[in-house]
Amino acid sequence: MNTVHMKINGKPVEIEAGSNILAAAKKANVNIPTLCYHPDLPAWAACGLCVVKQENSPKLLRACAAPVQENLSIITHDAELYQIRKTVIEMILSTHPNDCLMCARNGTCELQRFAAEFGVREQPYEVRLVDLPKDTSTTSIVLDPSKCIKCGRCVQVCQDMQGVFALEFIGRGDHTVVSPAADLPLNDSPCIKCGQCSAHCPVGAIYEKDEIGDFVRAVSNPELHVVTQIAPAVRVALGESFNLPAGTITTGKIYSALRRLGVAKVFDTNFSADLTIMEEGSELVKRLTTGKGAIPQITSCCPAWTDYMEKYYPDMIPNFSTAKSPMMMQGAITKTYYAEKANVDPATIYSVAIMPCTAKKYEIGRDDNMHASGFKDVDLVLTTREFARLIKASGIDFLTLEDEKADSPIGEYAGAGTIFGNTGGVMEAALRTAYNLMTGEDLKNVEIDAVRGMEGVRTGEVDIKGTTLKVAVAHGMANVSTLLEEVREAKANGDEPPYHFIEVMACRGGCVSGGGQPYATTDEVRAQRIAGLYTDDEQSEVRCSHQNPEIKQIYADYLGAPLSEKSHHLLHTTYTERPLYKH
């Protein structure tokens, strides 16, 4: 590692070359305030809070953008810097509605935090507010331009991390606003509802659509039979909202909390993750062995990704696995298989999914395939953030809850199902089962390191008793294009496909850092949540989907075999090309 030596407020620090001064300060136990910098993104340098002094130079540096240098000596805090920062905060507040009590970010807002820390007690400057309506056009997120502080994070996230270009700056000077592309309603823009903008916004200008009220009404309606499922990634992140370290596994407490909230049954999306593997794995093996169906097969469990593909890569539709996402499979079997078994009228079932993802709110209404049971397969999606608020508002002392178990018959999961929540996990789970499907044997070591890790694009080869499977994993939507261009090119040249199986998740790190997860997600937090899921996998008695007893049971009792007609009807879907812009 190439390091440089420098001083922060006189204290020597050694730090990796190429780091910024913010990072150097952190090493010296100093926090420098910033409202626009986010470690996921290159410095945008807009807010003006992180200015610091360089010894013997009249010019201030932006700590977010200035790289460390040998012998640099930096002063991060003094009376002048305090005054500048306070003035900048007061200026920002002079164009801000400051209605914290009614704000989605009350208590988690980065601006509110600095206003508190800097002891802002009055509004010295002329107040000028942005008078623009909220954009509530999507079913996933709400944009409130009146709260936007133009930090640029969402635009960078949407354009650079996600490659979507649904958000942009329009206007100049103090008329600048962040707006959906071409000034359309967000839902008519290319937006894929991933919600990464909402997860990165420092203030309450972009937030998940709050549907807690629907949940509360449903559980208090005696005619409804409320059934829930929780996604893999929720269990390793929810704890953060209760001050537990990222990655803490809270599955048992979540089950317990749901029961206290008054639901009839607590199931787990992880069960259907196993089901997805059975279907998708069989589909892959079928494509590989019969030569029917496009290669590579590409995973389809991320609704933001399917939306992206339908808009940006419609030519890849044949490559998509027709398997639905675990959440939608769970919804379909809840109102059919479970309803039958439990003898409940499916019309009275209200199916709720607790998800790390805002796109899931969109997915439940994607098209008619999401009504496979004859009803709305999933009635309501709550994100992890909403779920945390719901628990708190319901007076549940989450941390002291006893661990409980999920209900049968669709609540048990294999380790394979839980790692669906992180990048590489779907691939790994599928390979565990594909190996069995192709060889009749089980892998001795189920941990497939080739597909683990955080690089945006990872490729590898997996040996299945002499057959080499070429696989690739991409996460962070903008990273997918490298892979897909490769596939396109091979197709155009009539070459062998470069891969057999590709896993894509729209969010960096996978669902563990979905757009509906607790705030302040960084790579460090991602790593902790991912470690939590791998631990959950390791601690599972059953590691492979095809070994999950409840999976065996549903095939024996109800579905028959993977890819059966019934499976096709309930568990598979179709895709259509969608325009980037709706007019």
Partner: protein, 595 residues
């Protein structure tokens, strides 16, 4: 000289708009008519600089300087001057009618000037490469290609001590050296011709009058740093400059001075023009590069500097037009020669666009170290209409005012900054006692606020708040605390804005507050505008003893606020008056006063 006479017609934008093309055509026709095409050549040149007196026609070899020429004068000029050899006295420039100032060297406007950048402006036909070559054009390129190593070129620039003329004054040799030493698959050379400060037209005139000097310099830079592609980023509102650049580039390619294998040296270099939409902030180098790349023109933090990571992430030399125009001369005459001109801090010359309440407005090029007094009084001829000098603004909207006390300051980068102003790109606007200093600050600040890109909060929010405070003060609603707020916001903007636009936008306020606090106080405390500019703070009154009741004012008043019988004293209804000043301008008897 192969012709008996040359007739040079100014073809700069200012003179063009006052019929220079028609004059040119009339002269050509007249020469044809007299069968003199073999003996006399008519040339449309770049700007002569003395715009106050345009359109200008100069006849060589007599060096007769004709001013305010009209197309109708063409016949007389040819018949008298060319055919009969008699100067047309009535058109000769003649300041105080007694003395005859006929020759250029006699005109005080030119006497203190020293022309490096503008060496060819007004002397050559910018649309004819041969004329540039005849004045040592492309000799520097030849020298660089065949007699100098890239290191020697950089050494020469270092010896010269040339600093960027685009505003920041960064040493040019250092920039070039960074780019030369940086690694990159390819490198680029960019000319910043986005000039957009109010009142500035130095760069435009240089490109219009001598486009080849910039092309030659960019090619020299390409050779030195290892770039094969150049871009000229020029605002689309400069059609004449763009036209002449296009002609110049085509001619240079034809002569093997641009394109593949330049002068058989094996070196390839070509240039493309990119048009800017006229956003001032796109002149900031990182925003300019973003704009060339097709992105929103917004500054990005430096480092990395463009010299290391510029256009499409590649090392890029970006210089201002005026900086470029200096370079061929430095290569030919040597860095030592250049470093002798100017002051210890700043070598060479600087071109200023002198405007405002000045007698001789125009483009002036002076050695660094010339004093403001020399520019304003000797070259500019002093304040127009014999009013009193109040202040001069240098550095455009980024600069500040300089008062009479500091007129003897020798101009260089450091001295202007010390006075709370800056060199900037070379705008120089002179104000007299009729200018309200708060109004002046408001004008510049509003410019910056309108041109802010909106990226960073100090500039985006602070700028508008400052502008609104000034508006409030000029409207008569100012409070004492406003001054404190302006200082507070101004210093936060200076320190925490991302680019120089926001960092310098408060300068006009802070410097006027510094030198003219009493004038602010008059607006805030006494609710008076001493210069009589701020409409809300003045009243028009009719003086009883002077009004003869002619009714002229009452007839002119657009809102009918003036009443009174014919031949009796008139009165203005203050509640109805909109302070347009029509009555004041109309009254022939001085009966209307402003208070």
């Amino acid at each position: 000289m192969s012709y008996r006479n040359y007739i040079l017609v100014c073809g700069g934008t200012a003179c063009e708009s006052s019929k220079a093309t028609e004059i040119y055509e009339a002269l050509v026709n007249e020469i044809k008519h007299q069968n003199l095409t073999e003996e006399v050549q008519v040339i449309k040149t770049g700007c002569f600089g003395f715009c106050e007196q345009g359109p200008i026609v100069k006849i060589l070899p007599e060096d007769s300087f004709y001013v305010q020429v009209t197309p109708a004068d063409a016949k007389e000029l040819v018949e008298e001057h060319i055919v009969k050899g008699r100067e047309v006295k009535r058109l000769l420039y003649n300041k105080d009618k007694s003395k005859k100032h006929a020759k250029v060297e006699d005109i005080e406007f030119y006497q203190k000037q020293f022309r490096i950048v503008l060496r060819n402006c007004g002397f050559i036909d910018p649309e004819n490469i041969d004329e540039y070559i005849a004045r040592e054009g492309y000799a520097a390129l030849e020298k660089v290609l065949f007699e100098m190593t890239p290191d020697q070129v950089i050494d020469e620039l270092r010896t010269a001590g040339l600093r960027g003329r685009g505003g920041a004054g960064f040493p040019t040799w250092m920039k070039w050296n960074f780019t030369k030493q940086a690694n990159g698959e390819c490198k680029y050379v960019v000319c910043n011709a986005d000039e957009g400060d109010p009142g500035a037209y130095m760069d435009r005139s240089t490109l219009e009058g001598d486009p080849h000097s910039v092309l030659e310099a960019m090619t020299i830079a390409g050779r030195t740093v290892g770039a094969n592609q150049g871009f000229i980023y020029i605002r689309a509102e400069y059609p004449l400059a763009i036209h002449r650049l296009e002609i110049a580039m085509a001619q240079a390619r034809e002569y093997g001075l641009l394109g593949k294998n330049i002068l058989n040296s094996g070196f390839d270099f070509d240039i493309e023009i990119r048009l800017g939409a006229g956003a001032f902030v796109c002149g900031e180098e990182t925003a300019l590069l973003a704009s060339i790349e097709g992105k929103r023109g917004m500054p990005v933090p430096r480092p990395p500097f463009p010299a290391v990571k510029g256009l499409w992430g590649m090392p890029t030399v970006i210089n201002n037009v005026e900086t470029w125009a200096n370079i061929p001369v430095i290569m030919l005459k040597g860095g030592d020669w250049f470093s002798q001109i100017g002051t210890a801090d700043s070598h060479g010359t600087k071109v200023f666009a002198l405007t405002g309440k000045i007698r001789n407005s125009g483009l002036v090029e002076v050695p660094m170290g010339t004093t403001l007094r020399e520019i304003i009084y000797d070259i500019g001829g002093g304040i127009a209409n014999d009013r009193k000098f109040k202040a001069v603004q240098t550095g455009g909207p980024s600069g500040g005012v300089i008062t009479a006390d500091y007129l003897d300051t020798p101009i260089d980068f450091a001295s202007l900054t010390k006075l709370g102003s800056m060199m900037g790109s070379g705008g120089m606007i002179v104000m007299d006692e009729d200018d309200c200093i708060v109004d002046v600050a408001k004008f510049y600040l509003n410019f910056s606020v309108e041109e802010s890109c909106g990226k960073c909060s100090p500039c985006r929010i602070g700028g508008r708040t400052l502008a609104n405070l000034l508006e409030k003060i000029t409207k008569g609603n100012g409070e004492l605390k406003d001054i404190e707020q302006m200082k507070e916001i101004g210093s936060a903007m200076k320190k925490a804005s991302l680019c120089a636009l926001g960092q310098t936008a408060p300068n006009p306020i802070l410097s006027t507050l510094n030198y003219f606090e009493d004038e602010y106080m008059a607006h805030i405390v006494d609710k008076k505008c001493p210069a009589g500019k701020c409409k809300s703070l003045i009243t028009y009154n009719i003086l009883e003893d002077k009004c003869i009741g002619c009714t002229a004012c009452a007839r002119k008043c657009p809102v009918g606020a003036i009443s009174g019988e014919r031949r009796s004293v008139h009165v203005i209804d203050q509640a109805a008056c909109i302070k347009c000043g029509a009555c004041f301008d109309t009254c022939k008897f001085g009966a209307i006063e402003v208070r």
